[in-house]
Each structure stands twice: as C-alpha cells, then as structure tokens.
Symmetry: C2
C-alpha cells in the first residue's frame, strides 16, 4: 500500500491545522510585542518565521477551493496573514471561489500590480466574473493584454446580467466538422495537451459556427473510427440562449442529467457552453441568497463583517417590520376603550395574530415553491385557492376550539371563548386567501415571490388578527 | 436548415399542450355524460379517442423527466389520465423522477404486475430508491429476478440511510487494470455498445477490487496509446465512504468540480461511484426540505394533496406555535393589572416583541448558514457573540429611539417613550444572545439548527419582549 497516495483530507481538518499554526504564530507575536529585549526578539522572530513557513507549506498542498473555504472561516486579521502566504499564481482562482464579501476584503489588501497578475491567469469568462469587483485601471490593463477574440468573449460575458445564461457560460469548447471521420477527430484530440474540464461532448459546427450537432465523447469511444461525425452525432439536444434565465438552464441540467450544453445565439451559432459545475455553483448561490433574503439580509455581509456594516445590512428589514408593527399598534389603539373594559383581550390578542401568521406562511411556502417549479397554471390556481381555504377553515375550527377552551378556562367566560374561536377561523381564512394571492400577484407583477411575501403575510395577519378579534369582542362582549 | 431537428421545446410549453388536450378530452367526456343518445355517444367517443390519441403521441415525444414534471403539476384525476397513457416501459424511470407524494398516488393506481414490470427495468441503485414506496410482494418478486451480484448491490444500497453516500451511489463503473496499455483500454471500450452516463473516468482496480487510481477519459483521449494505464492514472483524488454524510460529498463535488467520484469501503476497495447528477438532485432536495421545514411542512404534501392530508401535514407546527403563544399570553396575563391602569401598553407591546423576533431571526440565519458551511470554530464563536451583541445594542439604540419617539408622539408621555427605548434595547440584546446560542447548542446536541431554531427564537423574543416591556412599565410608570 506504500505506493498509494492517500486521498484528500477533509477540508475541516485543513482548517483546523491552519488555525493551529496561526495560533502558534500569534502566540509568538504577542511575546515579541511584550518582551522588548533584543536577544529575545531575535529568537522569537526565528520561531515566528518557522511557524509561518510550516503554514505556507501546508497551504501549498491545499486545493484552491479549500483555501477559499479557510479564508471565509477566518476573521479579517488572520485571513490576511493566510492570504499573504498563498502563492501569487493561485490568487486568481481563489478570488473566484470566495464569496463577494470576502473577495472585497482580499482585493482591498492587494496593489494594482498584484491584481493584474492575478487576473491575467484566468480565462475570459472568469475575468468577467471578477471584473465588477476590480478597480477600473486593473480591468483596462488586463484588457490590453488580451487577444481580439478574447476581448470579444470578455465583452460578451460581461454584457449579461448575473442571472443570465451568458454570465455563467464559458468558451472552452472543442469544435469539429461533421464530414470528417471519428479517426480524424481522435487524432486531432491526441495532438492537444489536455481537454478542457467537463468535456463530455464535442460541438459539431459548420464553417459559420452554426451548431449542427453534438458528439458525446462516450460515443466517440465506442463507435467504429471509420464512421463520419455526422452519422453518430446527436441532433436532438437541449441548448440555451445567452440572454435566457439561468434558472431555466439549471432546471434542464437537473432534469436531463447534463454535464455540458451548448449556448447558441438567435441564428443558431455556437457562442459558448454551460457546464454542470457552473450550474451547481449557481444553485448553491441561489439557495444562499434566498435563505438570507428570507431574513432580510443581503449576501454582502461576511461572518466577521464590521458591526457598522452589519447594522446597515439589517436595517432595511427592521425598518419595514417596524412600519408594519406601528400599523398593528394603531389598530390596537383604536380599540383601547374595549381593552380598558376587558383587559383579558390584551393577553389573548397575540394568539390570534401569531397563529394567523404561521398558517399564512405555510400556505405561502407551498405556493412559492410551486411557482418556482413552474407548476401553477390558471386551472391550478383556482383549485389551490379552494384547497387552502378549506384547509384553513378546518384548522380554524380545530385550533379555534382549542384557544376558545383556553380562554374559557382562564377567564371563565364562554362568550370570550366563542369570540376567540370565531376570530381564529376568520383570521386563518384571511391568512389562506392572502397566502395564495400575494405570491401569485407578486409573480404577475414580475417580482420574486420568494422575497417579501412573508413580511406582507405577517403584516396582514397581525393587523387583521387584532382587528378581527378586538372588533368581534367590541361587538359582542363590551 | 431543413435537415436540422429543433432543440427540445421548454417543459412549460409541453405542460400547456398536455393541459389543452386534457381539456378537450374532459369537454367531450362531459358531453358524453350529459347526452345519452347512442348515436351521439358513438360520435363523441370517437372524438374523445382522437384527443387521447393526440395526447399519447405528444407524451411519447416528451422526455421522461418532463413527464414527471407534468404529472406533478396536474390535479389527481388528470394526473391519472396522463399516467395511463404513458408507455409502460417508461413507468420505472418516471416513478424515480417524481416527488414522494406524487409517486404514492401513481403507485396506488398500479397493480402488482405493472409495478414489477416497471421496477425490473431499473438499475439496482434505482430499485433501492423506489423500494421503500413499493408493496412488499413487488420487491420480493423483483428480487427473485436479479443476479447474485445485483442482489448484493441492492442489499448494499438499501442498507444506508437516505442522507448517506451509499444511498446516492450507483454501480455503473467501468474498471480497468493498471498494467495494460491505453490501446487495450480503447479496444475494450469499443466492444461496448455504450458507456454508462457520466463516465468521465475509468476506475483502475486490482484483482481484489482494491482501487489504485482513476483514469480520466480525457487523459485517455490525449495520451499516447502505447502508454500504460498505471503511468497516466491519477493517484490523488477525492473518494467517499458509503456511510459518509451525503453533504460532505456534495461539498466536495461543488468545490472540486467533480463529475464522478469513487466510493470505497474501509479497506479501500471500490464499491460504487457517485455522479454529479445524483449530487444535483441531492442539493435540490435538501434545499426543498429546508424551505418546507422552515414553515413546519413535511415534503409529503403535494400541491393537490387532499385537504385532510394537508391539515395533518401542518398541524404539528401550528400546535408548537400555539403552545408558545399561550405562554406569551400568560406572561401578559401577569401584567393585566398594569395594562388596566395604562391601556397604551397593550397597543405598544407587540412592537417590542415583533422587532425582537425579526432581529433574532436575522442573527440565527447568519449563524445557521455559517454552521452549514462548517465555518464556526471555538475561536469564531466568541467573536460572533461579541459582534452580534454589538450589532443588537446599536440597532436597539437606533430603533429604540424611533419607537420611543413614536410612543411619545401618540401618548404624550416621555416616560412611556423611555420605557419603550429601554425595552427595545434589552429585547434586542436577548435576541442576539439567543440568536447565537440556540443554533450553536442545537448543533452541539446533534440536532439540525436549520430546523426549529426560528420557532425557539421567536418564542423567546415574544414572551421575553412582553415581560421586559410590561415589567419596566410596571416598575417605572404604574
């Protein structure tokens, strides 16, 4: 077994090792700062260097993606120590891997020359990804060093919004003609040093770059070498347009189990390709953005962002919620007279509002998900409305009875219990109607229903719940 | 351009076509039911058949994954009409593609013979995926038809929990020996009809199935055919163990841009492979489960599930929230005397509780995300606590002043305003401490912090917010 290299250690382990070495390094630094005797300093500096050396050796063995991971997990000061130790020729790929927030901190720490050097190592589609975060001068410098074709590619890749196929595509396609034999293709490939990553198929184009078919590498391997490309190529395939929503492409990759797919322009000419790794990254990022957005957070906040930056990141969401809370507060204010007469109302009203919010959010979660999967059509919407209203009516009766009983047991008033039950049923019905209507309306007006639906539902079920409960109480009890 | 087949139409378009044909079919059915004259019936039945025929033709052209999509989007009755029209030999792969809830409805509609036939077309790893949903007799029947090796594979695949690598792996590996030339490998491949999907590399094993390296297909294509496999194979690669958490594998695929990877047992022998399409499906499903779980929904509820099933799916969550709402209600109940004297408290208290919940959930979202990425270590946790507390203190002062001013403007009492401000600061600090502590503690005790953290935070900031505000008011105002 001696001749066999072990497989990669887990990235968590690598992070632990880095942190341990950083700690030793910091320990030594603290000593140096405290003890100012020159002899001591010399000794400590040597030990200090030794630790950094060990760290550097460790980092050299670590995959770039794992270094990105380590950088994400470190507070700013330690992050920059590690960043300085990373070999300059890997700067570019690591910058690509880290999150936007961490990338910003790393770029702020580099000078123009370093940035140009880091960027120049990258493919044009990767430069396009990095470009929005780079200083203007760096981009101009890099641009000058590109060939005409590369400049064209860079311009194309940068011209699409982040959520378009064009922003995710790369240009590492191998193209072949349909009137040659597989033997010729095999000989052509053998002349290359290596094939681009994720080359599971070759692109069959004519003289005008018009895409005529796809030649899967696996077909190339099992077919008779005398066969013509045109006879074994695939003509029925999924292709995308650069302006198309990346979500469509991601669904297609998931559904048809693709590894790569052609991107063609309006005339059917090949302009690039999508690969599954870009799709995986896209899915992950979309998920992340969604999770954060659900809490009103933008993705610009890294874990160790400054307090001030975090406050700014979170304030918009809190402000919106404050406005809805003020409105709910004024709804209650209208009924202050009733509450003064029957103070139990104050203790009971949050129950009606809270459960309404929960129920509404359940409905919205179902609808948003179905919308994301494209599963709701005119016909379905009507059925969904009916279903959700029935579910809420039933839930309202069940839970309304429970809260009614609760109110009766505490306050010994069956009238109060009945008002609770009635308010619960009505608020859950309101929650159901809004839970279906709000995401559908947002979708209709071209907004993302996954973002914001929840605040609106909660705002309505809060104010609505208070109004319904206090209103019923004022009518029947006071 | 006449010789070129168009690329696949979008799946949404296919869904529309199916629905249109179903509508025509239903229209005719309604006519048949209404008009009982025999001549009419005959005519209508013919038209009716014609529409179903058109639908069947359409379905035959549609990719299995797209049929699964269409089935998901249709209410039960229409779903079963379409399902009956699908060619029997595609039943198996379609059952694999649909969600658990829809699969259940389809299986309930099939007899034992159909189920056995559908299952027998699948690979062993796919049978393992389907098995939990199949009747016992069907599995036994299918099992009898398998070879010894396949039975072994099926047993292995079924022995792992859903979130383990073993449950996601397949067995479609091509194995080669390291002491043969690439020429021999190429000739061997050419004897096969086709290679398994996602064959981006061959697995180099010895006589005992011990994995010695990987031979990427791309290297096979560009290298000199006279070279030995052992000289070009990769020895430094990621491999997984069948018992490992699928999340680890998914991260590795994402980080290292893998298309396939070997799964080895404790001795280093090859037992299966993971492919990127299994990983993409896993990521999607994990995301889906998480989104639903955040609203207290299990994934068993399909869009058109029965009302009763939906009520059951949602009741646990509502019950938990009801308990926390009751507790909050009793906290208010304790201060009823204060509220009776100063009824403004009732109108203002939901503001303190609500904003506390929002702020706490923002903190938790950040922490849960960092935990999922494995980015929090001992050192980081302390820093995060400090950061979140500082953010909350600052937010408390800012928003506390706003609500204090609001209270002053409405009720003309600066004392009330000050109590609002103080309560806001304290509740946001409580939210920060709990927002960090709860997910960390859940993680420590082996529970998923993404599920349940939010309910706990909200429960604490609700009850805590009422207690802090009403308590301060009782001390200083009443």
């Amino acid at each position: 077994m001696a001749d066999r290299q072990v497989t990669r250690p887990g990235v968590e382990k690598q992070l632990e090792q880095v942190i341990e070495l950083l700690h030793r390094h910091e320990l030594v630094e603290n000593l140096v700062h405290r003890q100012e005797s020159p002899r001591h300093e010399l000794v400590e500096t040597l030990v200090h260097r030794q630790h950094l050396g060990a760290l550097q050796q460790l980092l050299d063995r670590v995959h770039s993606a794992d270094i990105a991971y380590v950088l994400e997990a470190l507070p700013l000061d330690q992050r920059l120590v590690v960043w300085d130790l990373v070999k300059a020729e890997r700067d570019g790929e690591i910058l690509l891997e880290v999150s936007d927030a961490v990338r910003e901190t790393l770029i702020a720490h580099m000078d123009e020359g370093e940035l140009v050097a880091a960027t120049e190592q990258l493919d044009t589609d990767e430069i396009a990804d990095l470009a929005p975060d780079l200083p203007r001068e760096v981009i101009l410098d890099v641009f000058k060093g590109l060939s005409t074709e590369e400049r064209e590619q860079l311009r194309a890749a940068m011209s699409y919004p982040e959520e378009a196929v064009g922003a995710l595509m790369d240009f590492a396609m191998i193209e072949v003609r349909e009137d040659v034999t597989l033997e010729v293709v095999l000989r052509y490939l053998r002349r290359l040093d290596q094939l681009p990553d994720h080359t599971d198929q070759l692109f069959v184009v004519d003289r005008d770059e018009y895409l005529r078919g796809l030649l899967p590498v696996n077909r190339l391997l099992v077919s008779d070498p005398e066969t013509l490309v045109g006879d074994v190529m695939i003509r029925d395939y999924s292709s995308f347009q650069p302006g198309q929503d990346a979500r469509d492409a991601a669904s297609a990759f998931e559904r048809y189990d693709l590894v790569s797919a052609p991107v063609v322009d309006g005339e059917g000419c090949l302009v690039g390709r999508m690969t599954v790794n870009a799709v995986v990254d896209y899915i992950r990022e979309a998920k992340d953005t969604e999770t954060l957005a659900a809490g009103g957070l933008s993705e610009d906040e890294d874990l160790f962002a400054s307090v001030w930056k975090s406050v700014r990141n979170r304030w918009a969401w809190l402000a919106i919620n404050l406005v809805t809370a003020f409105i709910a507060s004024r709804v209650i204010g209208v009924f202050e007279h009733s509450i003064a007469q029957l103070v139990a109302l104050a203790a009971l009203m949050p129950i009606i509002a809270g459960i309404g919010g929960n129920s509404g959010n359940q409905t919205t979660t179902m609808i948003v998900r179905a919308l994301a999967l494209g599963q709701i059509n005119q016909d379905g919407a009507r059925k969904l409305f009916l279903k959700e209203i029935s579910v809420s009516a039933l839930n309202g009766l069940i839970w309304g009875s429970v809260v009614g009983l609760f109110a009766f047991l505490i306050y010994h008033s069956w009238q109060l219990g009945l008002v609770m039950t009635g308010a619960m049923v009505l608020n859950l019905l309101l929650a159901a109607v809004m839970g279906v209507a709000i995401p559908l309306l947002m979708q209709k007006f071209g907004r993302d229903p996954a973002i914001g639906s929840s605040v609106m539902i909660t705002a309505i079920t809060d104010s609505g719940g208070f109004f319904i409960f206090l209103g019923l109480a004022t009518l029947f009890l006071v």
